[in-house]
Amino acid sequence: MSKDFFLKRYKEFGHALKGTEKTRRALRVNTLKISAEEIKKKLEKLGAKVSKIDFVKNGFYIEKTDFSLGASFEYLFGMFSMQEAAAQFAAEVLDVSSSDIVLDMCAAPGGKTCQIAAMMENKGAIVAVDLKRDRVYALENNLERCGVVNCAVYCDDTKKMSFGDVLFDRILLDAPCSGNYVTDYDWFKKRDIEGIKFNAQKQRELLMAAMRLLKKDGILVYTTCSLEPEENELNMQWLSENYKVRFEKINGPGSAALISVLGQELDKQIANCRRFWPNETHTQGFFAAKIVKQ
């Protein structure tokens, strides 16, 4: 598959992308340690220029800095994490409360887990799972740095895990996906439709596990950083055909998800899901669905 193939495909979906779009560098404030106003002042005092990301509560774009933010005391103290703007949106959509029981299915390296913990004010419970041990180390490192204390971490396959009779109020499935060219220089060389379909199948298996573990009326947020409909809208169509679900409207930047795509007319509710196109949002490619189990 070539770059031309994918760009032509995106054009058919209504977006004339160049394939060279870049994302803006961003950070997320860890409100377990400091407020957004305070860290902004601190970073500005150090010589960094940051500006508020308007679609998340505690995120800043990094406009200018002549030092490495990741090698600052403020970072070591866990006051912020480097986290791309679209990636910060997933936990915002999950909309947790401090009494929730939350499952983070593919949690490593833990940026979103720490964000959820901060939103829950370190209360309630988060069960964070990831399959790969080396990535779980990074997750643990982030939990310690950010001062998270309401989380249990498992290095396991969520699909096969037994959770006893526990059902979750909220589940975040930030699914492993084909990614997108904005954050991966060689993306166009590496990806083809077969691989995308393979990933879509794996994502359906994770969606099945999520539906099994979610309470009735519980909320599942499904996100990917893929621009490909097979991993996004078509998986949501599959979900709506196989489970009693409702798609809640997501407000935010970007565009409504596609409901007429690749020759298929999809469930109209899927338009409630959100797509971030890199040329519109200046973020990486991103898809988010907020699903209520009925």
Partner: protein, 152 residues
């Protein structure tokens, strides 16, 4: 939790630790509240839970979370400026001449928390180097960056 208690006593801190709330995962030690205890499904696959207190190596190494908590107490502390603090988080030892303020009595082998702007950035042990007293780095927050590099 004997190892953890030895560290706490050694540094002269007070820390409430009920045995029933303590959890051990391999070399790591945790404090777990009742809410989280319900989510221990499979101990074999559990890698981290609740408040991470530290890990046992040759001796007990406290986590940054535990250090931050106990640093609010009246303990042995040295205060340093930004340059010395940064060298410390890069793994360097601290010479006495670079200490701005000392709280506690400095004796060979005694442990001191290292403070920068009222925040704990690690701790060390008083030692002698070429006839001079130094604070030998035992743990510093730069460990996060070193661990991140290991995981890359």
């Amino acid at each position: 939790m004997k190892d953890l208690k030895e560290f706490i006593n050694g540094i002269g801190a007070k820390y409430e630790l009920a045995e029933e709330d303590a959890a051990k995962i391999n070399t790591k030690r945790f404090l777990v509240n009742n809410e989280l205890k319900k989510f221990v499904f499979n101990k074999e696959k559990l890698t981290y839970i609740g408040k991470y207190l530290g890990k046992m190596k040759k001796e007990f190494l406290p986590s940054s979370i535990l250090l931050e908590e106990i640093s609010a107490q009246k303990l042995n502390k040295v205060y340093v400026d930004k340059k010395t603090a940064w060298l410390f988080v890069c793994g360097r030892d601290i010479f006495k001449r670079n200490v701005l303020k000392i709280e506690g009595i400095s004796e060979e082998g005694s442990m001191f928390l290292v403070m920068f702007e009222d925040r704990c950035i690690g701790y060390g042990k008083v030692d002698m180097f070429e006839g001079r007293s130094i604070l030998k780095n035992v743990f510093d927050l730069g460990d996060f960056l070193r661990r991140e590099r290991e995981n890359d």
